[in-house]
C-alpha cells in the first residue's frame, strides 16, 4: 500500500489508519508484558461468552424451537451478531469511555495532537482479550454453517453480513457513546443499544411483536445485523411478510448508521467545551 500511495489524497486517507496501527501496537506490547493476567482475561472473556451460548442451548432442553427456529438456526444468528459486535468492540470499544476522557481532561490533551480524535479515542487501551468473544462467536457460527445450502450468492451475502454487522455495531458504539458529550456520566446508556442490540439479535425476530420488528428495521436498523441476511442464507420467507429485498440491504443499513454516527460525533466534538479542570 505505502509504496504506491504518493498522492496527497491517499496519504491523507492512510494517515489515520497508520496512526491507529501505531497506537494499537503500543497497547498490545503493554498488555503482553503481564502474560499471566492476559491469559486469565482471555480465558475469562471466552468463558463469559461460552456460558452465554450455553444459556440458549439449555433452553432447548425444554423446547424444540424458539419463535419457529431451531437451535442451529439460532446459532447462525448468534454467531453473526457475536462476530459483528466482537470485531467492533475490539477495534473501537474504547469509545465508550469518552465521558471518562472528558471528566479527566484527557480529551483536551488529545485535541492538541495531530491525529484524528476518533482514532485516538478508539485505540486507547486497545486490548487483545476482546478476541475471546470473536473466537467463541466464530466457533458457534462455524457449527451452524453446514445447515446452509450454500450457493455463490449465499457466500457473498454471508461475507457482507459479517462486514455489515461489524460496521453497524461500530456505528452504534460511536452514535450512543456521543450522548456522553452532553451528560458525561451516562456511559451505561449506550449499553442498551450496543450490548442490548447484541442480545436482541441472538433471538429470532419472531419472538418480538410486529411493531418492534418494524422499528428495528426502519427506525434503528438493528435487524440488519443478522436477521435479514440469515433469512436469505436459510432460504426462509419473511415470517412478518416484509419485502424479500430487505435481505440484501444490510450494507446499506450499515452505511446509513455509520454516516449518522460520524455526523453525531462531529456535532458532539464541535459543541464540546472543556471542563476547564
Amino acid at each position: 500500500m505505502a509504496e504506491t500511495s504518493t498522492t496527497s489524497t491517499t496519504a491523507r486517507l492512510w494517515h489515520p489508519v497508520a496512526r491507529y496501527g501505531d497506537m494499537v501496537r503500543l497497547w498490545v506490547r503493554a498488555e503482553l508484558s503481564y502474560p499471566a493476567s492476559f491469559a486469565m482475561l482471555v480465558v475469562g472473556s471466552m468463558l463469559i461468552n461460552a456460558l452465554d451460548f450455553a444459556g440458549i442451548a439449555i433452553m432447548f432442553s425444554s423446547i424444540d424451537s424458539l419463535g419457529g427456529f431451531g437451535l442451529r438456526e439460532i446459532a447462525l444468528l448468534y454467531g453473526a451478531t457475536g462476530v459483528g459486535i466482537g470485531i467492533a468492540d475490539t477495534l473501537i470499544g474504547s469509545v465508550e469511555r469518552i465521558g471518562e476522557f472528558i471528566r479527566t481532561g484527557r480529551l483536551d490533551q488529545m485535541l492538541t495532537k495531530p491525529v484524528p480524535l476518533l482514532v485516538q479515542v478508539c485505540s486507547d487501551r486497545f486490548t487483545l482479550r476482546r478476541l475471546g468473544r470473536i473466537t467463541q462467536a466464530s466457533v458457534v457460527m462455524a457449527w451452524a454453517l453446514p445447515i446452509v445450502d450454500w450457493t455463490p450468492s449465499r457466500v457473498l451475502v454471508a461475507v457482507l453480513m459479517v462486514l455489515s454487522s461489524s460496521a453497524l455495531f461500530f456505528g452504534l458504539f460511536v452514535l450512543f457513546s456521543c450522548v456522553q458529550f452532553w451528560t458525561s456520566d451516562a456511559s451505561e446508556f449506550a449499553n442498551a443499544f450496543t450490548y442490548g442490540g447484541n442480545t436482541l439479535t441472538q433471538y429470532p425476530l419472531t419472538v418480538f411483536p410486529r411493531e418492534l420488528a418494524i422499528a428495528l428495521t426502519v427506525v434503528l436498523p438493528i435487524a440488519f445485523v443478522n436477521w435479514y441476511p440469515c433469512l436469505y442464507l436459510l432460504g426462509r420467507s419473511d415470517p412478518f411478510g416484509f419485502p424479500e429485498g430487505l435481505q440484501f440491504c444490510s450494507p446499506l443499513a450499515a452505511a446509513v448508521v455509520v454516516a449518522a454516527a460520524l455526523l453525531v460525533w462531529r456535532t458532539g466534538v464541535r459543541r464540546y467545551t472543556s471542563t476547564g479542570s
Partner: protein, 265 residues
C-alpha cells in the same frame, strides 16, 4: 454506630450520580423487555417449562434486572475499592486501623446495595409492571421472606467479591479473577436462565452453589415456590453460605496479612 455511619455514607456516595442512574435504569429496562419476549416465546413453546408458567417467567426476568445491581453480579461495589487499595498498598493503612476490615467493607457494601435496591431495583420493576403481566408476591409471608432474603443475597455476593478482591494480595491485579467470577455468577445465579430449566446434574450443581443464593432463591421466594418449612430452609441455605464465605474471608485476610508483614507492608 460506626457501621451504620459507614453504610449511610456509601448510600449517599452512590446517590450522587443521577445521570448514571437514569441511564442504568433505562438499560436494565431494555434488557428486561428483550428477555421477557424471549421467555414468553419459550413458554409459548412449552407452557410449563421448569414448573414455571409464562407470568412466573416474566416476573423472574424483572426481578433479575432489579437484583442485578443490588447484588453486584458482575462485580463492583465496595470490594473494587478494596482491590485497588491492595494494588496500591493503601490497604496497609486499613489493616492498622482499630476496625475489622471485613465488617467495614461489608457495611459500606450494604449501604451501596440499599441504594441500588431502592433505585435500580424499584424503577425497572415499575417499567416491567407497566409493560408486562407480572406476578406480585404470592403471599404476605412470601413478601416478608423476599425482603429477608435480599440482605442475605448481598452478604453472599459481598463475601465472594471480597475473596476475589483478596486475590490481589497475591496477583496484584484482581481483574482476571473478577471477570471469571462474574461469568460464573451470571450463569449459576439464574440471571442468564432460570436454574429450574437446567437439566439433571447441572441443575443440581447450580442449585447447590452459592451463586443461586443471589438471584434464584430470592426470586423463587417471591414466586411462592418456597412455603412453610421450605421457606425457612431457603433462607437457611443463604445464611449458611453467608457464614461459610464470611469465615473464608477472615481466613484469607489472616493469610494475606501475614504475607504482607513478611514483605514489610
Amino acid at each position: 454506630m460506626l457501621h451504620v455511619a459507614v453504610a449511610s455514607r456509601a448510600f449517599r456516595r452512590y446517590s450522587t450520580y443521577r445521570a448514571a442512574t437514569v441511564a442504568g435504569v433505562f438499560t436494565n429496562s431494555v434488557f428486561g423487555v428483550i428477555y421477557s419476549f424471549a421467555y414468553l416465546a419459550l413458554w409459548r413453546a412449552n407452557p410449563d417449562a421448569g414448573g414455571y408458567d409464562a407470568v412466573d417467567a416474566v416476573t423472574f426476568v424483572w426481578l433479575g434486572q432489579a437484583l442485578l445491581m443490588t447484588v453486584a453480579l458482575w462485580g463492583g461495589g465496595a470490594t473494587d475499592d478494596l482491590a485497588e487499595r491492595i494494588r496500591t498498598g493503601d490497604v496497609a493503612i486499613d489493616l492498622y486501623r482499630p476496625v475489622d476490615l471485613v465488617g467495614w467493607y461489608l457495611a459500606s457494601d450494604l449501604g451501596r446495595a440499599a441504594y441500588h435496591f431502592l433505585i435500580r431495583g424499584l424503577a425497572p420493576t415499575v417499567v416491567g409492571l407497566l409493560l408486562f403481566d407480572i406476578a406480585l408476591p404470592d403471599s404476605p409471608v412470601a413478601a416478608l421472606g423476599f425482603v429477608l432474603s435480599i440482605p442475605l443475597a448481598v452478604v453472599v455476593s459481598f463475601a465472594i467479591r471480597f475473596l476475589v478482591a483478596s486475590t490481589a494480595f497475591w496477583l496484584l491485579d484482581a481483574s482476571g479473577p473478577r471477570i471469571l467470577t462474574g461469568a460464573l455468577a451470571i450463569f449459576f445465579s439464574g440471571m442468564s436462565l432460570p436454574l429450574v430449566l437446567f437439566p439433571g446434574w447441572l441443575g443440581t450443581l447450580a442449585e447447590a452453589l452459592p451463586f443461586s443464593a443471589m438471584i434464584q432463591v430470592p426470586n423463587d421466594i417471591w414466586l411462592g415456590r418456597h412455603t412453610g418449612i421450605d421457606l425457612v430452609g431457603a433462607l437457611a441455605f443463604q445464611a449458611g453460605w453467608a457464614v461459610v464465605l464470611l469465615l473464608a474471608c477472615r481466613f484469607v485476610l489472616a493469610l494475606a496479612t501475614r504475607k504482607l508483614v513478611v514483605q514489610g507492608g
